[in-house]
Amino acid sequence: MFKPSALSDWTLFILFSAAILTMPIWLAPLGANYPDLMQKFAIFGIFAIGFNILFGLTGYLSFGHAAFLGVGSYTAVWSFKLLTMNVIPALIFSVIMAGVFALVIGFVSLRRSGIYFSILTLAFAQMSFNLAYSVLTPITNGESGLQLTLRDPRVLDAAAGVAVGRSLPSTNLFGLKMSGLPGFYICAVMLIIAFFLSMRIFRSPFGMMLKAIKSNQTRMAYTGFNTRPYLLAAFVISGMYAGLAGSLMAVTDPLAGAERMQWTASGEVVLMTILGGAGTLIGPVLGSAIIKYAENIFSAFNTSELRQIFDFMPDGLQQVSVAVSSMFVGEAWHFTLGLTFMIVVIFLPGGIMEGFRRIGGLFRRSDAKAGKVESSAAAAHS
């Protein structure tokens, strides 16, 4: 994992799959092995992997990827409302719909590059968010978010004679309920597929082409080569990943809210990717897991829990420890997050993956040179 040259892609893939599938076990000591958080790990992993296909390979920094996530969610919930509670159509329609949106937005935005491209994608996403929150409320249910109701038609379910009780139906995969662990496993399987595809793309001639565009687009253009279709393809693929992530959010929890499309949500995936290591295969997944972990676990500590944790200490020391640590957790978890961003970027320019690489390098002095090449390649994105 630390040195692609030493590990074949297949080994990496198998290790990755095993790590993902056994998450309920090895996350237990971290207190993170409950279904919702594991689902979030997988879903945001997919989102970040998709984002990385665009940003990591081509260097095009999209600031509006959350729009596709939102589109995916809305499409999935509408599929649940109108067609069936089965998740398969929801997943398919969401990916297609996000792809269509990405095609349109990408077609326009890719006419520009650099920060101009970033602002164009940001503008489209903010327009989607603002409209979804207000004017488009009939489609999105605005602030309250699009939810299932007892009065939904669900034509396919109705045709199949599924009984409608007085309680809301839950999403299912041919009868298997998609909440809790089964919900995690479908996300995990999707993540593994997404990871595999991304790996294939990274290694394919298409991926090479994208990297070439990143290193010098002008030169590519001089050779009479039209880069736009390649970029657009990358943009659409990464939009479809976001759509898949969005629909999985709806699958595990059938609600779609407008704030999923806000610029802060787009910013979050950028941060996840850079934090983990843009342009690396594993980095984005790691980055997303760290941010989601901080958001869900760090934010939950309150002083009474901290006091319990430092119970073993003598009184005075306990108070100091509680006071110090409460500056970083609970309602101050944003502070920790900001500090983490700074520390990682200052000391590990290539993200956490570079940290691993450096640690790996310490152990393998002889390979240090190769590691250096790798890391500078990873750091050369912009």
Binding site: F55, L61, V108, R111, R112, S113, G114, I115, Y116, I119, L120, L122, A123, F124, Q126, M127, N130, L131, Y133, S134, V135, W263, G267, V270, L271, I274, L275, A278, A332, H334, F335, L337, G338, L339, T340, F341, M342, V344, V345, I346, P349, A379, A380, H381, S382
Partner: protein
């Protein structure tokens, strides 16, 4: 007609705020080549300079309200006002404009520290890294302010003399329906002054000339033996003062809270990009343009034709401008396109 004139005034006023924030942002882009996501936080810090000064001036003796027994309820009598009844209240009344005097050294210092301690090490780093580190810094600053001042907005009053509205219409003999708050007019004038001063400084001083040369071609200027580094530090500090002053003067219009910077961040980026990266004139032009368009888009007559247009107008204009003019209104080739 009155309504349209008023919306133009609104637009100018909004534009002044956008332009003032965007000015510093684009200056840092253009000279240092740094994407500073903490610029909004500097704006917010400026606002809190005003809050702090006001707090200091109104340090009070607390007279307990005896009718409340369960906790300490008290009426605050500012010591300054009690001790010096003649000029004490005047000082407190003018705390917002006085805060400018505090904000200039404070923001200068913060700018210097930020540039020396952090930004300088990121000149050669990819923009993505710059974004992440300055975004992290912005969050840290925000949380510190939240910790010290709470999350609720803290009202700041304009001086009594200019707290009301001016009858602008009467000045031009156009009836009584065009009234506009004094403070907003002052803000507009103040913004013009700062913008003008910045332009004059860059245009007419040797320092400014070197900086402008550095914006064009940093390496060559460096080769000439000029310590461009030192000048860049000062530029960053100046940008931070600009943002800070914009924040101080904005407090009577918008009671400051800890995340006001983040609210302005995205908007000011859009302004900078629409104006053209690194173009000072572009930022100012785009600021006023977007301000005025936003005001017009908010009119009921316009919203009746295109529902929700006020929600998206800024972004819509940004898309159109960038598609028609690849580098924004006044952008130069080659800036931030890598």
């Amino acid at each position: 007609m009155d309504a349209i004139l008023l919306q133009i005034l609104n637009g100018l006023d909004k534009g002044a705020a956008y332009a003032l924030i965007a000015l510093g942002l684009t200056l840092v882009f253009g000279t240092l080549g740094v994407v500073n996501f903490a610029h909004g936080a500097l704006f917010m810090l400026g606002a809190f300079c005003a809050v702090t000064l006001n707090r200091l001036l109104t340090i009070s003796t607390k007279i307990k309200d005896e009718s409340v027994t369960f906790f300490d309820a008290y009426k605050e009598v500012p010591i300054l006002e009690a001790k010096f009844p003649t000029w004490g209240p005047v000082i407190v009344d003018y705390s917002v404009p006085l805060a400018i005097l505090i904000a200039i050294p404070v923001m200068l210092l913060i700018g210097l520290i930020m540039e020396r301690g952090l930004i300088r090490h990121f000149y050669k780093r990819p923009h993505a890294d710059q974004i992440l580190v300055t975004f992290g810094l912005a969050i840290v600053i925000q949380e510190v302010i939240k910790h010290s001042f709470g999350a609720n907005p803290i009202p700041q009053l304009a001086p009594d003399g200019v707290a009301g509205s001016a009858n602008v219409g009467a000045w031009f003999g156009m009836g009584d329906n065009i009234v506009y708050p004094w403070w907003r007019l002052i803000y507009l004038g103040f913004a013009m002054l700062i913008i003008g001063a910045t332009f004059a400084f860059l245009k007419f001083t040797t320092f400014g000339m070197v900086v402008r040369a550095g914006m064009q071609d940093r390496e060559t200027v460096g080769l000439l033996g000029i310590d461009i580094q030192k000048r860049f530090t000062i530029v960053f500090a100046l940008a931070s003062v600009c943002a800070g002053l914009a924040g101080v003067m904005y407090t009577p219009i918008l009671p400051p809270n800890y995340h006001m910077g983040m609210d302005f961040l995205v908007l000011s980026f859009v302004v900078v990009v629409v104006g053209g990266m690194g173009s000072l004139g572009g930022a100012v032009l785009a600021g006023f343009l977007l301000g005025i368009l936003q005001s017009f888009a908010s009119m009921t007559e316009v919203k009746a034709i295109i529902p929700g247009i006020d929600q998206i107008i800024i972004y819509f204009v940004a898309v159109v401008v960038l598609l028609v003019l690849p580098r924004g209104l006044l952008g130069r080739k080659g800036v931030m396109e890598d």
